[in-house]
């Protein structure tokens, strides 16, 4: 690049002192990118978009693991009178993504699933996903209540706590979960204060 071109790239050429140029978003153009251009979604930095695309392309769960995660998800958050289930809210895919996004989750998750299958094999002769519904619930009942669980179930309790965390979080941050929760915000409005009936209920007022 010639000196003059460099100056032009900098946004300095053709100006005499006293006549400044307008905004130069990137005064110097970035070197051309040889990779296939990735569409960067609004609000993302290019490195984030690249990272997300890579994580989406990778696979963490084996088909067997995913089956177990899916069954557990719907045991933890089933459909009820008010809303749908975890799988209807796409929770297994969220958990799959989080394993890759925060790799520290991988060993406790993979190991926990293996612990569950081993324990089921010992008890029922089959991995968790192949057990009957009654057996699955019997197993889950052993690990779902931290204060009631037997001592030899402690690893299972830790795993189930992790599962419960991810399933509850995945569900209540989904569209149907947010509706279930009754969160009313994230929309332009005029804040006028706490509704009058609520104030009354709490014996509070603005005066």
């Amino acid at each position: 690049m010639k000196r003059r071109d460099t100056l032009k790239a900098l946004g300095f050429s053709g100006i005499t002192f006293g006549l400044a140029v307008g905004p130069a978003e990137a005064g110097v153009p970035l070197p051309p990118d040889k990779k296939v251009p990735l569409k960067v979604p609004g609000g993302r930095q290019p490195f984030e978009a690249e990272r997300d695309a890579k994580l989406h392309a990778d696979k963490f769960f084996t088909p067997q693991e995913l089956k177990t995660v899916t069954i557990l998800s719907d045991i933890i958050i089933p459909a009820d009178a008010k809303s749908g289930s975890a799988t209807q809210a796409g929770v297994p895919a969220f958990i799959e993504f989080m394993m890759k996004d925060i790799p520290a989750n991988q060993t406790p998750m993979r190991g926990g699933l293996a612990w569950l299958d081993n324990t089921c094999r010992k008890r029922y002769g089959k991995p968790f996903a192949d057990c009957t519904r009654a057996q699955q619930i019997e197993m889950v009942d052993q690990i779902a209540y931290p204060q009631k669980a037997k001592k030899d179930m402690s690893q299972g309790v830790a795993f189930f706590n992790m599962m419960r965390n991810f399933v509850v979080c995945g569900f209540y941050t989904s569209k149907i979960g947010i509706e279930d929760l009754g969160y009313k915000g994230n929309t332009p409005n005029q804040w006028e204060g706490v509704p009058e009936p609520v104030l009354k209920k709490f014996g509070l007022s603005y005066s």
Partner: protein, 583 residues
Amino acid sequence: MNPFQIKEAPVVYDVAIVGSGAGGGMAAYMLAKAGAKVVLLEAGGYFDPADPKYITQLKWPYESPRRGANTTRPFGDFDAAWGGWQIDGEPYTAKTGTEFHWFRSRMLGGRTNHWGRISLRFGPDDFRRGSLTGVGDDWPITYDDVAPYYDRVDKLIGVFGSKEGLRNEPDGQFLPPPKPRLHELMIQKAAKGIGIPVIPSRLAILTKAINNERGQCFYCNQCGRGCQAYADFSASSVLCIPAIKTGNVTLINGAMCREVTTDSKTGLATGVSFVHTGTMQEHSVRAKTVMLGASACESARILLNSKSALHPNGLANSSGVVGKYLNDSTGASRGAFVPALMDRDRYNEDGVGGMHVFTPWWLDNKKLDFPRGYHIEYGGGMGMPGFGFGFGTENMNGKYPTANGTMKPAGGYGSGLKEDVRRFYGAYVHMAGRGEPVPLESNYCEIDPDKVDKYGIPTLRFNYKWSDYEVKQAKHMQDTFEEIFHAMGAIPMGNKPGPDTNHGYGLEAPGKIIHEVGTVRMGKDPNNSALNAYQQAHDCKNLFVVDAAPFVSQGDKNVTLTILANSMRTSEFVIDQVKKKNI
């Protein structure tokens, strides 16, 4: 072409400004409006909160595959900050046994795109802590010197609040404050009962439109994402972009300043040299005046790296004070569960992007065993769920009866668990103390003797330890939080932080509150300060620092409003000095 050849622009600008955050943005705005030809050097990329390319506001958690988790951004996927505590290729270190965490945002507007908008004036006492308490130093300026600029900044950026007439918590030119949320009314009532004031907060958010360029707040609670209506103050939308529109500003993004160049005979500043972050090419610009607003630690770094025969200790550093007296606000916090808020009625209580009430410092340190105060920030309410929502439900649902009064075992699953999540939603409050530390010469940043960043620029090494004063203050915060929790019938979460929690009583590590100041302090005496009362270098009259580096002390207030006022004051001084042909 020789790639090492340094590119030099043929123009001489009136002013070169380094950094486009609160300090640099204000200087660019003031000088461009006054007709000066300005080159604005910003290490980060272009950012405009209203450009869909950058907007995260009003997105839902499920629009992020990680539901807003903070994997790549410290405050989560939707936060506006490009940067964080660690930036790839831009390292820093700390001396063994000490700690400092340095938050940097690399973008037009710097950290003001996602700051908390808490805009508190320093009070008269905050400028003279040294003479009032015998610990620390006085500023070379007083509240009266800054007050007119606070007034003008309030009007320019828009700050809401209430007139309270508190002596050391001066009122501003306020827009109407939003009404408190439910948990805030509960806190207010409980705290009042035990003698702790809780008043409307003071945030740089437009609860009323102030001009045609910026919209009014529509209460989405997301200022941290940046406001596409420009209804909150960001240096990008309110200062830099309007400054550029004057036609007087040449903005260069990706310009990582290496040093301030000086004349080998006069020692005066001649401009700035920088590396372009995209091309890695060296460049320099020439200017008649240089203003540093790269943030407190970075401005110290630039000065320390600007060594020459006439400035062997680095520029503006004949006193050796540059880098010293680094101090950040103290911080400690605690959360609590409010049983009365279980099974709440649902309504939209987003409000503005921050608390609607806060507690200014209310006690007399003469009667306490620590010399400086703190304020309390409050959180809580029915917020938008994000990553982490519902975690640890097993720690809650075994402790409190269900709606029909029965107890259940902790944990569980199924539709009963769904009921628990709904029941506990919005039933938590949070308190965070933010306090003033005593600035110490022994807390400093310096140039690491054997490290450089990826641009080849020598990096910073920190040395920072809290003193007993700050630990005692954190203890007092914890006691106060519990008093208020108990008064409102809330149950504090977890164990009370004791002497061994964090840096003592939950005291956060230095740097974590992101109010670092003091590294290029101003003062009357050139032997122990780098800048005079106009933030002008004692050693170099055409060099100014306009970020928080000149601060002599922190105040028990957040610092940004004072950065803005001081930068405005310094900018007018520069204009005046140019008119008088002094620089």
